[in-house]
C-alpha cells in the first residue's frame, strides 16, 4: 500500500512538473507589463494649459510626433518648431482623448508596486529593470545608467512623489538592451530637464514640464494639467530597437539601498477637476492659418527597414499541447497499470 501511494505521489508530481514546464514555458519569465499610453503614445508633446517654445525645436518620431494641447489654447513660438511625422492638435477631440489616456497611463504607472525606494539623486548609479520610487523628488546629476541585463522587453518605471529634475549636461545611458520606449517617469508635480541634458523615456507629469536650452529627449513630454516649455530642444518619440550586445558576463548590478520596510504611500490620485469647461470666449480665431515654416510630413509606419529588429515569434501552441497530452496519457496509463497490479 505504502509503495502504491508513494508511486501515486511521484506520478502526480511528475505530471504537475511536466505541465508547468511544457504548457507555460514563458509564463515563468513573465516580466512587468509596459504602461499603456493609449492614444497619447502618438504625442511627442502633450500639455494641459500652454505650450511655449523659444529657439528652434525639432520633433520627430516613428510612433508619432504630434503636439497636443487641451484644454489650453496658447502655443507660443510654434513657428520655430519643426515637426516631421506628426501634426498639431490644438484643443481638439484628439488632444482631449489623448489627455484622458494620459491620465489612465499616469494612474497605471503610479499604482505599480514598487521594488526599490531610491535616493534622491540617481546620478552615477546603475539600475536594473523594475519600479523605483522616491517619496519626494528625483534628481539626476551626471550619468544614470539603465541596464536591461540583455532583455529588450525590460521595463523601468520611476515614481517621483514631487519633482523630477535633471542637471545640465546630465545623461541617461541605456545599456544591455534597454529601450527608451520602455522607460516611464511618473512625476507627481513637475519635471525640469537641464540645459544640454540627454533624457530617455516617457515623462508623465501631473503638472508641467520644462525642457531647458538644448535638452535632447528620446521619448515624450506629457503634462496633464500644466504647461510644457521648450527651448531649442530635439524630441524623438519612437520605438527604438535595442541592440543587445552579447555580454557573456552580466554582473548582477547592486541594487541601491534596498529598504524593505516602505510604508505604502497612498498613490497620487490625481483629482482631475472638471474645470475642463469649454471656454466659450475662445471663438475660433482665424489667425491659425497654417504657418509656412512648419514642416509637417505625412505619417509613415516604416520609412525604411529598422536595424536589428526582433524576429517574430512564429510558433503555435499545438506542439506543446500535443506533448502535454502524451505525458498525461502516459501518466494515466502508468497509474492505471500500477493500481491494477495492486
Amino acid at each position: 500500500m505504502k509503495k502504491q501511494s508513494k508511486m501515486r505521489v511521484i506520478s502526480l508530481s511528475l505530471i504537475l512538473f511536466l505541465l508547468i514546464i511544457v504548457v507555460v514555458p514563458t509564463k515563468s519569465t513573465a516580466a512587468q507589463q509596459t504602461v499603456n499610453l493609449g492614444t497619447s503614445s502618438r504625442f511627442a508633446v502633450l500639455a494641459g494649459s500652454t505650450i511655449t517654445n523659444t529657439g528652434t525645436t525639432t520633433i520627430d518620431g516613428t510612433v508619432g510626433a504630434d503636439i497636443g494641447l487641451y484644454p489650453g489654447t496658447a502655443f507660443d513660438g510654434r513657428t520655430n518648431v519643426t515637426i516631421s511625422g506628426g501634426e498639431i492638435h490644438m484643443t481638439d477631440t484628439n488632444a482631449s482623448k489623448a489627455k484622458d489616456d494620459l491620465l489612465t497611463a499616469y494612474n497605471d504607472a503610479a499604482g505599480r508596486p514598487l521594488d526599490v525606494t531610491i535616493a534622491a539623486d540617481l546620478g552615477g548609479t546603475t539600475l536594473s529593470p523594475g519600479t523605483y520610487k522616491s517619496e519626494s523628488s528625483i534628481q539626476i546629476t551626471g550619468t544614470l545608467t539603465l541596464d536591461a541585463m540583455g532583455d529588450p522587453e525590460a521595463i523601468f518605471i520611476f515614481q517621483a512623489g514631487s519633482t523630477l529634475t535633471t542637471a545640465s549636461y546630465s545623461t541617461i545611458n541605456l545599456v544591455n538592451g534597454a529601450q527608451f520606449s520602455r522607460v516611464f517617469w511618473q512625476v507627481g508635480s513637475s519635471a525640469t530637464l537641464g540645459t544640454y541634458s540627454h533624457f530617455e523615456g516617457h515623462i508623465l507629469a501631473m503638472e508641467s514640464i520644462t525642457a531647458n536650452t538644448g535638452a535632447k529627449i528620446m521619448g515624450q513630454l506629457l503634462a496633464q494639467n500644466g504647461a510644457v516649455t521648450l527651448d531649442s530642444n530635439s524630441i524623438s518619440n519612437g520605438i527604438n530597437i535595442a541592440i543587445v550586445t552579447p555580454t557573456p558576463m552580466i554582473i548582477p548590478t547592486p541594487i541601491i539601498t534596498p529598504t524593505p520596510m516602505v510604508t505604502p504611500t497612498p498613490t497620487v490620485t490625481p483629482a482631475v477637476t472638471p474645470t475642463v469647461t469649454p471656454t466659450p470666449t475662445i471663438t475660433p480665431t482665424p489667425t491659425v492659418t497654417p504657418t509656412p515654416i512648419l514642416v509637417i510630413a505625412a505619417p509613415t509606419t516604416a520609412p525604411g527597414t529598422v536595424t536589428g529588429g526582433q524576429l517574430p515569434k512564429t510558433a503555435t501552441p499545438w506542439y506543446n499541447v500535443f506533448l502535454a497530452g502524451t505525458v498525461l496519457t502516459l501518466v494515466g496509463g502508468i497509474m492505471a497499470w500500477s493500481n491494477r497490479k495492486h
Binding site: T314, Y319, L323, L328, G332
Partner: protein, 210 residues
C-alpha cells in the same frame, strides 16, 4: 473492515484519476493534431504557372540593376490588412500576406513585419509565418528557387540567394539592405516541442518587377 473500505475507496479514486488523465491526454493529442493538420488549403492552383514559366526563361539580372521606386505604396496598410499574396512555385503554395506579425495576424497567413518596407520596395521586406502552418514546408526550398509576391503595387519575383539558421534573438536578419530583398522567417526546428530556439531564414533578391 474500515481499512478495507478505505483501500477500496482509494483504488476507486486512482482508477477515476487515471481514466481522467488518459481521456484528457487523448483529447489534447487529438486537439493538437487537428490544429496542426487543419491548415487552409494553400496549395490552390495558382494562376502564375505560365507566367512563372516565361519568367524563368529570362536570365536573372543583377539585383541592383533593377530600377525600383523607394515608396510604392501611397497609403500605409493597417495591422491586420491583407496586403497581397506570396506564391512559392516550388511548393505549389499561394499564401495571403497580412500586415503585422502578432499572433492574430499570423493566424491568418504570412505576416509582414511592420518595421520593414513593403514588398517590392528598395530595402529589406521581412515576412514571417508559423512553422507548423503556412511555412511548414519552407525547409524544402533551395537556393535559386523563386518567390513571387503580388500586391497592389505590382508583381515582384525574388530569387532565393541564401538560407540560414540563426538564433531567435539574432539581430542581423532584420536590417536595412541597399537593394530590394525579401526575407522569410519561421521558427526552427520545424517540429520542435516547446518554444523553438532558432529561426529559419530565407533571403531572396528581387529579380523581376512588373
Amino acid at each position: 473492515m474500515y481499512k478495507i473500505k478505505l483501500t477500496k475507496g482509494k483504488t476507486y479514486l486512482v482508477t477515476i484519476l487515471s481514466i481522467g488523465f488518459i481521456v484528457v491526454g487523448i483529447g489534447c493529442i487529438t486537439w493538437a493534431m487537428i490544429n496542426i493538420g487543419a491548415q487552409p488549403d494553400y496549395s490552390a492552383p495558382y494562376e502564375y504557372t505560365t507566367e512563372v514559366a516565361n519568367i524563368k526563361l529570362e536570365p536573372s539580372p543583377v539585383p541592383l540593376a533593377i530600377d525600383i521606386e523607394k515608396n510604392l505604396y501611397p497609403v500605409d496598410p493597417s495591422a491586420g490588412d491583407n496586403i497581397g499574396s506570396l506564391t512559392i512555385p516550388a511548393l505549389n503554395q499561394e499564401l495571403p500576406i497580412i500586415q503585422g506579425t502578432d499572433a492574430d495576424e499570423l493566424k491568418e497567413g504570412v505576416g509582414h513585419f511592420i518595421q520593414s518596407v513593403l514588398p517590392g520596395e528598395e530595402d529589406n521586406c521581412v515576412l514571417s509565418g508559423h512553422r507548423d502552418t503556412v511555412f511548414a514546408k519552407l525547409g524544402k526550398l533551395k537556393i535559386g528557387e523563386q518567390l513571387i509576391v503580388e500586391t497592389s503595387a505590382g508583381i515582384y519575383t525574388y530569387e532565393i540567394d541564401a538560407i540560414r539558421i540563426v538564433d531567435k534573438d539574432d539581430k542581423t536578419v532584420i536590417v536595412p539592405t541597399d537593394h530590394a530583398v525579401l526575407t522569410l522567417s519561421t521558427c526552427y526546428p520545424f517540429d520542435f516541442f516547446g518554444d523553438a530556439p532558432d529561426r529559419y531564414i530565407i533571403t531572396a533578391d528581387l529579380v523581376i518587377n512588373k
